[in-house]
Amino acid sequence: MLRNYVIITFRNIRRNLSYAFLNVFGLTLGIASCLVIFLIVRNELNYDDYSKADRIYRVTLNAIDFNSNVALAVAPAMRNDFPELEQVSQVMYSHEVMIKVNNNHFRENDFAFTDEHFPAIFNLRWISGDPKTALKEPNSIVITESIAKKYYGDKNPMGEIINLENEINVKVTGVIQDLPGNRSLPLKMFVSIETIKNQLKNQMSNFWNIGGGYFTFILLPQHYSIQRIQHKIPAFLHKNWNLDPKEVRLPLQPLKDIHFDQRYINNIVTPTSKDTYYALFGVALLIIITACINFINLATAQAIKRAKEVGVRKVLGAHRSQLVKQFMGETTVLILIALVLGVGIAATFLSQAGTWLNVKIDASELAQPLVIGVIAALTILVILLAGLYPAFVQSAYRPIDSLKNQTGTPSKGFTLRKGLVVAQFAISQILIVGTLVVAHQMDFFENQDLGFNKDAIISFYVPNNAKKDVLEHALSNNPDVKQIAFSSGAPSYNNNFAGFSAPDHGVIKDDVTEMKFVDENYINMFGLKMLAGQKVNKANPKDTVQNIVANETLIHKLSIMDPEKAVGQRIVLNGRPANIIGVVQDFQSESKHKKRRACVLMYYADAFFMANVKLQPRAMSNTIDDINKTWTALFPDNLFEYQFLDEHIASFYTQEQKVYTAFKLFSSIAILIGCLGLYGLISFAAAQRTREVGIRKVLGAPLISIVGLFSKEFILLISIAFFIAAPIGYYAMHNWLQNYAYHINIGVGTFLIAIAASFIIAAITISYQTIKAALVNPVNSLRNE
């Protein structure tokens, strides 16, 4: 019996090759997409999956804002006051470091100063070196395997000397395996914090001396509640720094929350929302549902063709259950073929998809027991979803009907098949709406409403402030350099914060403002819009009062609504009086996840360590080469690195970019799968209605009316789908947008595009078959009947 089923399955596939192809291809794509999405989502949800992860907490700061950094003073005090903690470690994380190895320069990212407690908290995998001592002594460095390979090839790196920032020499005392991609601190080089202890001396006791990338981690003993530590924090703050626990808190953040807690968003780390990954899971589900719907639709449409076989088998004594088993068996064979192909495609394209989506996943993960379990579960789910209903439909025919060919009477009502087509259209419309909203929001993030000009501007580091004027002179001689401005950073770099108060305006307690140190060209070059007063002037070093340009948010904090009235007002900035000489319109100095903050611009030449250069749009890479030569001549010990401003802005939204790419990719796949099904369905409909078309043509129907005959139904189905998809799409995307302080509003246009796209996609899909059906000579179609 089984042999008979297998034989007939393969013969059926061979006979209806195009049907099998549509089914298997759609399902293959669906399975491959689901697997890739599963691995991506698993990778993200398993962020910071260290073996002791559930006992590791990051000490964070919650004063005015949530800050993932705390002062270096916190770790030693905690070690002292909480002897119950198994480990306390501090990390000074740096995005970039300049390395010199045997006179070769490298610029590396993901570098940190840390202590010997770090390896005890995070289970690094050591290739050589002693975890207990490798980071204890000054001038020690531990590097990853890939860095070792990059610098030393196959040579043993232990004991080799590495130079950092042209200042410090450190010796390699350990080599560890590379950390997986899904780590919040994806470190590649660890230098013992003892190395720079002298420089840090005055930072070791001051609670407010907080640098970007100063992290403190604690390891709880086993079976110890974090609440017991958290309860003691207020007393700890009071005892050590006389701080008011109502104003300053140290939330102990579970390690595994770091990747997702968006309260801590900053320039270095952009936490992501778990919702995003649940949404991606949703997309995977929609894709697999679409593929199953294809299966159901094509199988039930084909059932008419196979009614005779069912009839004969029943006449010969087959029970319905035997026929259900037979059809389920056939479905299983097709699905297993799709499964093998799908896993193959997933394995082949996983690294490519990983590149697009900026995640590092290895194809070997497909062989992990959990993944195999998921594949098995997915297969069973698909077999049941796709196979069960058609099997019951196909086996239900009464033999006398099926033998008399009385099975194909098209029912007038809203059949299940139509319902499924509506579901497919609704899914593709939801995904189109989703993709469009994400696309608009991405454009809004990167291009709209920034408050400054970002085009053709590069920023680079000025290692020695004393040579600033020489550099400026040299650059201004280059005809392809349009404008130059020196500053502590372009508008989108926010590094400096200061406390301010304004007793005259009711701001008695210290509030926080961002500070940008900028030269007299800055406001013009970036096109910041002045609302009142003067721009930033070159300061006279003798001035005792600081002249500042404030942004709108700051003057609103002073309860001044009219910018003109803010000019001439005084505030206290960093403990010194400051005079507002001008008001600038708010601009986006950090990601749009956050509300804009108070900001002041002021002249302070000592802090001009970034040069910002606006280039002529022509031959920008040549100009950058020229700048590189000029710069390298001035700073021969350094490595020239630059960043386009628009790329820096885009880097705030890497997570969103991931979502956008994923949406584009997987929505296209879902729509393609839907189209395959639609194509199959229309082929069957055309075949089934050959006789009707023939009769209509004999009676004089023109081509257009025949095409209309087929299209009419789809127009109705697409419209019904739209009324389902529009509210769901709106609701889902509206919720997603709430993650951002600044976001677009979803317009009617988005929905119009979605439904228009549905019509166009459907029209392209069905046109070939309908026109073919309409062009058949009626003599042939009627004779066949």
Binding site: R11, V312, R313, L316, G317, Q322
Partner: protein
């Protein structure tokens, strides 16, 4: 073997009720060869479907081999059918995806005959129908006459007590038609009961008895000598 009494069957649509069989009573004895004739719509096919347990009557009694089967469940009817009845259709109704051998083998699969026994019996019957040389061909590679031989082979492979034939020569030319009728006659002579629906007076002459139907009732019975 078969005794139907006051058999009634209606077909209902929303507006019209059609009587297909109207208090029909017929008896067929074991070993008989009966032809059923009548104009289109007289109820021939309905009768054959009920006799073949493909359909159930609305009223009346149907006793098959001493068992009342009129209101059997589908499963019970299927079980009784596969062991006792073989079918021959006008349009052959072979499964296109299966070879000649596999088509003939099918009833044996459903009655649970073991594989080695199946091969033996299928070869035996193909040999008898002189179609052995076509055993690996597909139906569409055969002529109409050959297809009907395969269909008859399939009908008899399970050694049924009754063969129901629905216009078995309807799609064949006269020479192939005669061959098929000879085959049925042979089977009948070997003891199989045959009930055949036909339009053809020529074919009907092969039978022992002709039952003529009109509007779901017997109008005449001719005994052939």
């Amino acid at each position: 073997m078969i005794k139907i009494t006051n058999l009634e069957k209606f077909y209902r649509t929303e507006e019209v009720e059609t009587i297909a069989l109207n208090k029909l009573s017929i008896e067929v004895k074991t070993g008989e060869f009966v032809a059923i004739m009548g104009p289109s719509g007289c109820g021939k096919s309905t009768l054959l479907n009920i006799l073949g347990m493909l359909d159930d009557p609305d009223e009346g009694s149907y006793v098959f081999n001493g068992i009342e089967v009129a209101h059997f469940t589908e499963r019970k009817r299927a079980d009784l059918r596969k062991h006792n009845i073989g079918f021959v259709f006008q349009s052959f109704n072979l499964i296109d995806e299966l070879t000649v051998f596999e088509n003939v083998e099918l009833p044996l699969i459903y009655t649970g005959v073991p594989s080695s026994e199946r091969v033996k019996r299928v070869e035996e019957v193909l040999d008898k129908m002189q179609i052995m040389h076509r055993r690996n061909h597909y139906p569409q590679q055969l002529s109409g006459g050959q297809q009907q031989r395969v269909a008859i082979a399939r009908a008899v492979v399970n050694k049924p007590k009754l063969i129901l034939a629905d216009e078995p020569t309807g799609n064949l030319d006269s020479s192939n038609g005669n061959d098929v009728m000879e085959l049925l006659t042979d089977l009948n002579e070997q003891g199989t009961t045959i009930i055949m629906v036909t339009h053809s007076e020529h074919d009907a002459r092969y039978s022992h008895r002709i039952i003529r139907l009109l509007d779901g009732q017997t109008v005449m019975e001719n005994i052939m000598i």
